[in-house]
Structure formats: structure tokens, C-alpha cells
């Protein structure tokens, strides 16, 4: 079904994490297309230049050149990008980090899970929830999800 097709991007500097993530995305039921970036700057260059914006962005917090938090702030301050749905995908489980990202406009915070099954479940939940927000007139301003 075409309406269920979701364009997703991930920015993460760790190659293994990128690989695991794309395998997990393939395991989910939601049809999607995934684009990968290895640092924040590369992602932002892409977002500023593309005409077809993704429905969902996954951001690692610790990345070289431009980190996840800088990307998040830049996205929220850019008229073209500010309505994008942003998920933070990080190993940090500090409550301070988590609240900080939400306050700065993240919609979703995922602690990188320790095993592949948990990762699949987390991604499945995020995609479903995100899809509902895109199709069901829910209030996007209040879209916060922590996994």
C-alpha cells in the first residue's frame, strides 16, 4: 500500500549501529525507504537541499562535526524543516539528556537497546506511532514518546 510507505533517515557515526538499524527496519511490517548518513553535517546538507523531506529522522546524539543536539536545534529553527518528526537514538540514559532533547523539540527518545529483538520492537513501535500521527489528526505539538 502506497500510503504506508515511509521515508526514514538515520544519522549515526557508528557503522555497526547503522547496519543493525537498517536490518531492524527491514524486519518491521511498515514499508519504508531508509537513507543513511554518518554525521550531522552530511544529514543537514541533505535536508536543506532535498525536495522530498522524510517523514521521520533518527539522530544519534554523539557524532563528529555536528552532533545530534545541534542538528535538532537547527531543524526546529528552520522554517522548511521545523515540522519534521525527530527521534533521538542514543546510548545515553541520563534523565537530563532526555529532558533536554524533548525541551529542544525532539518527538521521540530511544535508548539504543542491547539486543536486536528489542531494537526491532522499539522501531516497530516508533514507526506505528509516527504513522498514526501522520494519518490521524493527532496533535503533533504534543507528540512525545520515550522508549
Amino acid at each position: 500500500m502506497n500510503t504506508n510507505f515511509m521515508h526514514i533517515v538515520l544519522a549515526d557515526d557508528d557503522e555497526d549501529d547503522r547496519l543493525l538499524f537498517s536490518e531492524a527496519i527491514e524486519e518491521t511490517k511498515v514499508e519504508s525507504k531508509l537513507s543513511l548518513f554518518h554525521d550531522g553535517q552530511q544529514l543537514m546538507d541533505y535536508l536543506h537541499s532535498t525536495n522530498s523531506l522524510p517523514q521521520l529522522i533518527f539522530l544519534d546524539l554523539n557524532m563528529p562535526i555536528k552532533n545530534g543536539m545541534q542538528c535538532l536545534k537547527e531543524i526546529r529553527n528552520c522554517p522548511k524543516l521545523k515540522d519534521l518528526c525527530v527521534a533521538i537514538y542514543s546510548t545515553s540514559s541520563s534523565e537530563f539528556d532526555i529532558e533536554e532533547t524533548f525541551i529542544n523539540g525532539a518527538n521521540i527518545y530511544i535508548n539504543k537497546p542491547n539486543n536486536f529483538t528489542e531494537l526491532c520492537n522499539a522501531i516497530e513501535k516508533v514507526l506505528q506511532m509516527n504513522w498514526q500521527y501522520h494519518t490521524s489528526s493527532l496533535n503533533k505539538d504534543n507528540f512525545l514518546l520515550r522508549i
Partner: protein, 183 residues
């Protein structure tokens, strides 16, 4: 040798459709490009054949009736949660089947097929979405919100809120308030 072609796409498409439906052996009228009236309903086997055959020409059958029904289910749930005071007296299943004139079983199947999610989940999502709005905009207490959304207790609401969003209502409120200060 090379030959050069010019197409009349309308005629091409019409001919493809005619060939398909003739082969299927049903009475039909092509009522415009993209719409075919079939006199008698197709059985599952015929529908599958038609889908496969049309697919090979790059034509897809749109499940629009289903999407339309899903939309009506969502609208009815929204109405039930936001507007209808009396709706509190009914179960969601009874309310939906009464309003939409389908068995709940049918509604539930169509919904799950199309959205990858269940009606029950959607109701929870919608109620929590409303609770969020009430927390963020109206500064209502959880007790008031629980009552308004027909939860049996504050604990039940908090539990469902935490399960749906991963955050407690008070953390959620704090984040929204800080966001407002920031902007």
C-alpha cells in the same frame, strides 16, 4: 530495423481493461478511466485474478472503500471522546457498530488490516492525546482529566499515559512548560 510508435493512452488503457473484464466473463461498464462498474460482486478468486492481471499492466485496484471506512471509524472515535457526553455509557464496540451499521468484528478487521494497529489501541492513543492537550493547555488536574475521559481512577490514567508515551504526566507537563518558555 526500427519502428516508431505513437500512443493514444486513453484507448490503450480502455482496451486493456476491456480485454481483462471480457476474459473474466462479467457484465461491466467502464464509467470513466479509473472506474469500472461491475454488475454482480466478484468472488475472492475472481478478484484475485483481476488484481494479478491488472498488476501485470501496472494497474492497481484501490482499496478505497476500506480507507474510507477506516476514516469513518477514526472520526467516530474522535467524536465519541471529544463531544458525546452520553457515549460514556456505551462500550466502544457497541458505539461504533451502532453508529456505522457494521458488526464490530468487521470494523475491527478492516481497521487492523489497513492501519497495522487495532481499534482499541487507537482509542487509547486518542484519549491520551486528549489528556495531553488538557494537561498542556488547560492546566487541569489529573483527577479532573481522569473523570472527563472516563477512567476509573487517576492511577489507571497515569499508567496508560506512561505506557503510551513512556513519560509520566508530570514529566510531560514539565517538558511542555519548558518548551513554551524557550519559544
Amino acid at each position: 530495423m526500427k519502428i516508431y510508435l505513437k500512443f493514444d493512452f486513453n484507448k490503450t488503457c480502455k482496451k486493456v481493461l476491456e480485454d481483462c473484464f471480457n476474459q473474466l466473463g462479467v457484465t461491466y461498464t467502464i464509467s470513466g478511466l479509473g472506474e469500472v462498474d461491475i454488475e454482480n460482486p466478484l468472488n475472492a478468486e475472481q478478484l484475485e485474478w483481476l488484481q494479478t492481471t491488472l498488476n501485470s499492466y501496472g494497474i492497481n485496484i484501490i482499496d478505497d472503500e476500506k480507507s474510507a471506512l477506516v476514516q469513518r471509524i477514526k472520526d467516530t472515535i474522535t467524536e465519541m471522546i471529544y463531544l458525546d457526553e452520553k457515549a460514556k455509557l456505551y462500550k466502544v464496540s457497541t458505539y461504533l457498530s451502532d453508529k456505522l451499521n457494521y458488526s464490530y468484528n468487521h470494523l475491527s478487521n478492516v481497521f487492523s488490516e489497513t492501519t497495522y494497529s487495532s481499534i482499541e489501541n487507537f482509542v487509547i492513543l486518542k484519549k491520551i492525546d486528549y489528556a495531553k492537550t488538557l494537561i498542556a493547555e488547560n492546566n487541569l488536574t489529573l483527577t479532573e482529566i481522569a473523570f472527563r475521559l472516563n477512567y476509573s481512577s487517576v492511577a489507571h490514567l497515569s499508567g496508560q499515559f506512561k505506557k503510551t508515551t513512556g513519560l509520566t504526566p508530570s514529566v510531560f507537563q514539565r517538558i511542555i512548560m519548558k518548551r513554551k518558555e524557550l519559544s
